[in-house]
Amino acid sequence: MVKHSLLKIVTAAAIAVGASFSALAADPIKIGSVLSVTGPAAFLGDPELKTLQLYIEKINKEGGVLGRQLQLVHYDDGSDAAKANGFAKRLIDDDKVDIIVGGTVTGSTMSMIPLVEKAELPFISLAGAVVIVEPVKKWVFKTPHTDRMAAEKVFDDMKKRNLTKIALFSETSGFGASGKKETEAMATKMGITLVANETYGPKDTDMTPQLTKIKNTAGVQAVFVFGLGQGPSVVNKNYKQLGITLPLYHAHGVASEEFIKLSGPAAEGVRLPAAALLVADKLAAGDPQKPVATGYRKAYSERFKEDVSTFGGHAYDGLMIAVDAFKRAGSTDKAKVRDAIEATKGYIGTGGKVNMSATDHMGLDQSAFRMLEIKNGDWTLVN
């Protein structure tokens, strides 16, 4: 009996492989996606997937695009770039998708780029680093702000407060490492001196040694932390425990409600650059982003009963830019769609105002970031 049931499992697996191949007959527009729904980057990939599902369902209910339904074909790379590469091949060669929206982290995106370039398929990445769109790659676009923009925004704000000697405290993750590189370059450009430059591991639970060193460094006027996930919250707590009173800045990677919850009272006074989405209800009435940001926020939290994060917003922008491009191209012809994406002008998304061009495949400028400060456990806009 046991062997019998095993045989069934193997047969089922074989049928599953076969079934995925035979589902080509219908004629929907296929949107492919490889996201990190599990693994260390799950907190990014999970809201991205939910957002894509939510809005594709919604668009289909309203009649689809070009009179055709949208079909989402998505795979989970488990936060492993090598798997993302394999699934991208599957999307291109087997599922024959019309566009790829996805690639949660920079590593996954970079491992997919050679494939989409070769297949000449439009690709909108949801990952952060500058290398994705610089140098410009013909078929590759991205929606999130870059680490370089975050550093620039933070330094802008510091300069307004006459803080020019700062300590950089970055995470050794991909996000933090890339952020460190861009921050160092931006500091030189903007006349900021890095008097201390420390790092921490993404799973560290105590950052007091590095913070003590920063505290004892002469001349430090402010601290800039570049990290994701839980690490930055630990920094906040240790910062208060050590009684450091210098202004504390974080990067855009922690822009979620979770960050405030995890840090508790230690988050008070912390500043960070973030997309308007987080402060949707606090935006001025005439702000062009207000309707988009509040609309997305409402739809997402009603459906999934959880707070929005800017990461899901990136997926929203990616999908909307793709849909808009299909409409303007009037077909799913890959070259025409690519040209249409590149010609995106004045699209207002959750991330900001997008103006793509042949030399800019992200299309966001500094105005896309708002400087936020945490006051009384809530975000407030800094002018």
Binding site: K3, L6, V17, A82, R90, T172, A177
Partner: protein, 315 residues
């Protein structure tokens, strides 16, 4: 195992590899078969160490990482020829294995597992942190490989390269196991004291087999890097090591074809299960558990004992 049977099974494998392109519908299926072949060769090398010599290694992905990053770094940063880089990677991995083998193989059981685990993790950390050369956690692109003006490109060419490599590895492994060297390894597995009494230099054999499997792993790391065209530190990850050990155990320890079946199964399952929408890890885990509960010796040895006519003992 008679000589005729040996050739029979190799010819069967060759026939399958020859006929497979007739049924593979597109490049994606080629891709899966190529990944299966790569994993099978690595699992084979690991099986020689774990199944035949009875020594565990939980750091094998480290050697794969060395090969992969040698093929990525040396041509990109130093302008080496990819083949030379591949050889250098294999040489580095083998040397590390040779140097570490003597102290490591003084240990047994869980202590040996811990030591190899530590070694693998250290290699992964070095790769992750030497960002100037390795690109850090985001990884780096790898130049294509070629020989005398021909570049191996596209799934179909890689398929034939790996089919040939796979066949050669199986032939070599079979011969190795039936040689005095292989018999010494199995003696070692059975009882180290008995093997020593019979005149087997156990340290020398343990070191030799560890170096050999590290060599295989590094070469296949290089091949993976060139094939995918991109490497990330995940390739040297602890979880990758575990995945490889799982292939060996599921397929069947001390079974050449067990390595093949284990690699095929563990490469195909994640793709086949991706339709389960978020439940794939649960289904994957329960399949592995079912296999281990009902077939603790692995698929191939259990099935061979069940259906085999060659009079092997029933467990």
């Amino acid at each position: 195992m008679s000589g005729v049977r040996r050739h029979y099974s190799l010819m069967l494998l060759a026939a399958v590899l020859l006929l497979l392109p007739l049924v593979l519908p597109n490049n994606f299926y080629y891709d899966i078969v190529i990944r299966m072949a790569i994993n099978a060769i690595i699992a084979l090398g690991l099986n020689l160490l774990i199944g035949f010599a009875g020594q565990i290694s939980l750091g094998h992905a480290g050697f794969i990482g060395i090969g992969a990053y040698a093929s990525a770094i040396l041509p990109t940063h130093f302008g080496w020829h990819p083949l030379l880089a591949m050889a250098a990677g294999a040489a580095i991995a083998s040397s590390i294995a040779a140097i570490l083998a003597r102290p490591i193989f003084r240990l047994k059981g869980q202590y040996l597992a811990m030591a190899t685990l530590g070694m693998g993790i250290i290699i992964a950390i070095v790769i992750k942190n030497e960002a100037a050369y390795t690109g850090g956690p985001d990884g780096m692109p790898v130049a294509p490989i070629g020989l005398m003006g021909f570049e191996i490109a596209g799934e179909k060419q890689w398929y034939w390269v790996l089919a040939a490599t796979l066949l050669f590895s199986f032939w070599a492994a079979k011969n190795l196991i039936d040689s005095p060297f292989g018999r010494a390894l199995r003696a070692l597995h059975g009882s180290e004291v008995a093997a020593q009494v019979m005149g087997v230099d156990i340290v020398r054999y343990k070191v030799a087999i560890f170096v050999l499997s590290a060599f295989f792993a590094s070469l296949m790391g290089s091949v993976t890097a060139h094939y995918i065209g991109f490497v990330t530190p995940n390739i040297a990850d602890f979880f990758h090591s575990i995945e490889l050990v799982t292939m060996v155990v599921i397929g069947g320890m001390a079974s050449i074809y067990g390595s093949l079946i284990g690699a095929v199964l563990l490469t195909a399952l994640p793709q086949a299960l991706s339709t389960f929408e978020g439940w794939e890890t649960v289904v994957f885990g329960s399949i592995l558990m079912t296999c281990m509960i009902f077939m603790p010796k692995g698929l191939v040895p259990t099935l061979a004992a069940r259906f085999g006519r060659n009079g092997r003992e029933d467990p």
